[in-house]
Symmetry: C2
Subunit: 241 residues, 2 copies
């Protein structure tokens, strides 16, 4: 019987001959849930060293160990791109984190805007979601999910060398001028479903490196807009070119 | 108190002075759930006549009626674009239908492929999902959701005047040649998560108007790929240009 492929994110450095001790939760997953036995293969990545094949060296209810055998894929880092969004209901927030991971964002920043319902987020849960998305989509990089920030403070402290693409439904023409913009450090800001407040709009307009883009003639939900904006950016400036 | 905006899809023709009788479920929603009273406004669309403002003319537990007052938005039809995809688990299939509606597909065709798990779909439920997505995203068009078709039969009967963009993870370069392709009738085929079978690949390669495109260096889930592919097409050939 062919075993389902397992890809696991680990924090340990990866390299030939490394021995990885397993914590109890990992051992439970590998040996009780997935029925792996000594000698079986597992794919590992840690966000830095690419993907490696390891085999079960020791299986134990309380732990066990893996031996790292050979590299199976090179590390692929995404462009230096942040995705900034206002959290939605739980399932759609999870969805945005999953999609941003698959689409190649390097950092995910949930923001509180004037018209965001003050939903709390669980940063640790969202970070675990990003890890799971990377495990499942074959990625070797896990974006960092930041703590909830206030949009006005984020803009006030905006780094002078980072460009910002933001989605403006009043524009015609998808990405006028985007393809000829400099690559380098970027962020995408997906507006909250209630729109920006006037003070937020005024603040955004003070950013010298802001690029408004249109996402077509229909109104998109924020989770759809996140994937569409990431696609647009990746085609124009990112690693889909 | 400001009432939440209500947008309803109806099948009735819309035009100034039209009286729309309400069926019991609509009356229940408007009067019991949303607490609308005679004189209150509701926005209506039917997929053909744009968006209209109507007011409650008569409220009744078993029915009632709306009077259509004025057009509030012109009809916007999407390009003649089909989205073809292999159904996934229920929530992700629902998601693809919702996203395809927002992104401007004209027709949504779920297909059974050689490597699709033979999940059944409920066409009526998916169609209702497309209607709800159009109601919520301000659209005036509702794509038709087709019954589950077999991919091999769909390809064998492929219309000679319809181009097909399909996502091929072995390619480099997002959309080579797409922007210079003819507009007109198109379809996007998003591959099943298990990939295409060899017979399916062979069949696809016989289509004279097929355009393979790449969706970047990371592997995308089928629902992500659907939104990304729709974005790519809309930018190159659709109504986002």
């Amino acid at each position: 019987m062919k075993l389902t492929k397992i890809r696991l994110y680990v924090e340990h450095p990866l390299g030939q001959g490394q021995i990885l001790p397993l914590v109890r939760a990992q051992a439970h997953y590998l040996f009780d849930v997935m029925r792996r036995r000594p000698g079986d293969s597992v794919l590992l990545f840690n966000g830095r060293d690419g993907e490696w094949r390891a085999s079960v060296a020791e299986a134990d209810k309380r732990g066990g160990a893996l031996e790292v055998l050979e590299q199976t894929a090179a590390q692929i880092d995404p462009p230096d791109l942040w995705l900034i969004f206002a959290p939605l209901k739980k399932a759609r927030t999870d969805f945005i984190v999953e999609k941003a991971t698959e689409m190649g964002a390097a950092r995910i920043i949930p923001v509180q805007t004037d018209f965001t319902n003050a939903e709390r987020i669980r940063q640790d849960r969202l970070q675990a979601h990003a890890i799971e998305a990377a495990e499942q989509c074959g990625g070797t990089f896990v974006p960092e999910v930041a703590d909830l920030a206030r949009l006005d403070r984020l803009i006030d402290a905006w780094p002078s060398d980072r460009r910002l693409m933001f989605c403006d439904e009043t524009l015609a023409g998808a990405a006028r001028g985007l393809a000829s913009a400099d690559r380098g450090k970027w962020a995408i800001l997906v507006g909250p479903e209630g729109g920006f407040s006037e003070p937020e709009r005024a603040r955004l307009s003070t950013l010298p490196l802001a690029y408004p883009v249109s996402l077509g003639p229909r109104i998109l939900r924020a989770d759809t807009a996140a994937v569409a904006a990431l696609t647009l950016w990746q085609i124009a400036l990112g690693d889909w070119r």
